[in-house]
C-alpha cells in the first residue's frame, strides 16, 4: 500500500506532461470566432468603388464567398494579396473585400496597382462592421455560406497552403449544400 503512494508523484508528472504537451504548437494568438454558425452582422456601408452605392449583408446570399478584411496599413495584407488575386482569377472564388479602417483613395490606388481580387468591396473606414465581426487583427478571412452564415475564420495570411488545408474543403462543402 505504501509503495503504491510512491508512484503518485510519477503519475502527477506524467499527467502534467501530457497536458502541457497537448498545448505545444498551438498558436495562442488564434481565437475561434464567436460568430461561427451565426449570420454576418447587419451593416449599411458604402461600396469602396462607388460612394453612392450602399451595401448590406444581402450581398452574401446565394453564393459561397470569402470575406477578406484588409487595409493598406497592414503589411501582411500585402503579402497575401497576390494569393487572393490567384484565388479569384484561377479558382474562380468569390471574394468580398472589407476595407477596414482605411482611406478610400489609398485603397483604390492599392487595388489599381496590385490587382483587384474582390467582386464586391465594402468600405468600412471606422471599422464598424469589423468590430461587429470581432476582427482583432487584419488580415482575416471568413468563409460565408450561401445563406450568409459565417462558417470559418482564418486569422493571418491566406496562402496556397492555408487555402488547400483549411479553406478549400469548407468552400467545397458549403457549395455542395446549395
Amino acid at each position: 500500500m505504501k509503495r503504491a503512494f510512491l508512484f503518485i508523484p510519477v503519475i502527477l508528472a506524467v499527467v502534467l506532461g501530457v497536458v502541457l504537451f497537448a498545448g505545444i504548437g498551438k498558436d495562442p494568438n488564434k481565437l475561434e470566432s464567436a460568430l461561427i454558425g451565426k449570420p454576418v452582422p447587419e451593416f449599411q456601408l458604402s461600396d469602396l468603388h462607388d460612394e453612392g452605392r450602399q451595401l448590406d449583408r444581402e450581398l452574401f446570399k446565394g453564393r459561397v464567398s470569402l470575406l477578406n478584411v484588409w487595409g493598406t496599413w497592414c503589411p501582411a495584407c500585402r503579402d497575401e494579396h497576390d494569393d487572393l488575386v490567384w484565388l479569384a482569377e484561377e479558382k474562380g472564388i468569390r471574394i468580398v473585400g472589407l476595407n477596414y479602417k482605411d482611406n478610400r483613395d489609398d485603397a483604390l490606388v492599392w487595388l489599381d496597382r496590385l490587382g483587384d481580387p474582390y467582386q464586391v468591396s465594402i468600405y468600412d473606414p471606422r471599422g464598424r462592421l469589423g468590430f461587429d465581426l470581432g476582427v482583432y487583427g487584419a488580415p482575416e478571412t471568413y468563409v460565408i455560406d450561401a445563406e450568409g452564415i459565417v462558417r470559418h475564420r482564418h486569422v493571418g495570411v491566406v496562402n496556397e497552403k492555408v487555402w488547400e488545408q483549411d479553406i478549400e474543403p469548407l468552400v467545397q462543402r458549403y457549395r455542395e449544400k446549395i
Binding site: P28, N29, L31, E32, S33, A34, L35, K101, G127, F131, D132, L133, G134, V135, Y136, G137
Partner: protein, 160 residues
C-alpha cells in the same frame, strides 16, 4: 553620483510618459459611473494581446472596445449587457472571469478539489501518526513498563 542624478532627471522627465493613461478621455456624470466604467474595462481582456485588459492595452481593438463600452454605458446598458455584447463578438476569451457553466465547471472546482485533497492527505498523516503513538510501537505491556522504568531512571532495572 552624476549618473544617479541623470537617471533621476530622466525619470522625472519621462515619468508622465511611463504612466500615461490611454489617451482617450471619457466624461462621466458622477464618480460611481466612472468607477463602474473602470471596473468594467479592467474585467475585459484584449483579444489582440495575450494577457492585458482593455483598460491597460493600447491596441487599436482595445480602444474600440473601450469606446463601445462607454457608448453602451451612456445609453444605459448594464455591466452584463456590455460584457455579453463583447463576448458575442470576440468570444469567451474576452472574459477574465469565465462564467460558471458545464464547460468551465472543472476550472472553477479545481481549487476546491485541490484543497480537499490536501486536507485528506494531512488528515491521513495525522491519523496514522496518532495510531502509531497509541499501539503500533511493537512493545508488549511488560516491555512498555520496563521501558518506562528505565526512562524514569529506576536503578532496579539494571539488576534484572
Amino acid at each position: 553620483m552624476v549618473r544617479s542624478v541623470l537617471i533621476a532627471l530622466l525619470l522625472v522627465a519621462y515619468g508622465p510618459l511611463l504612466t500615461a493613461e490611454p489617451s482617450d478621455v471619457y466624461s462621466f456624470d458622477n464618480e460611481s459611473e466612472e468607477q463602474r466604467f473602470h471596473n468594467l474595462i479592467s474585467e475585459l481582456r484584449c483579444p489582440k494581446c495575450q494577457n492585458q485588459n482593455i483598460a491597460d492595452s493600447n491596441a487599436p481593438i482595445s480602444k474600440d472596445m473601450r469606446e463601445e463600452a462607454y457608448q453602451m454605458m451612456s445609453t444605459g446598458a448594464s455591466d452584463d449587457e456590455v460584457v455579453n455584447a463583447m463576448v458575442a463578438r470576440f468570444g469567451e476569451f474576452v472574459r477574465y472571469k469565465p462564467q460558471v457553466e458545464s464547460r468551465t465547471l472543472l476550472l472553477w472546482a479545481t481549487p476546491v478539489i485541490v484543497v480537499l485533497i490536501g486536507l485528506l492527505i494531512v488528515a491521513s498523516i495525522v491519523i496514522r501518526a496518532r495510531r502509531n503513538n497509541d499501539s503500533d510501537s511493537g512493545l508488549t505491556n511488560d516491555e512498555r513498563e520496563r521501558a518506562s522504568r528505565i526512562l524514569s531512571g529506576d536503578g532496579s532495572e539494571r539488576s534484572s
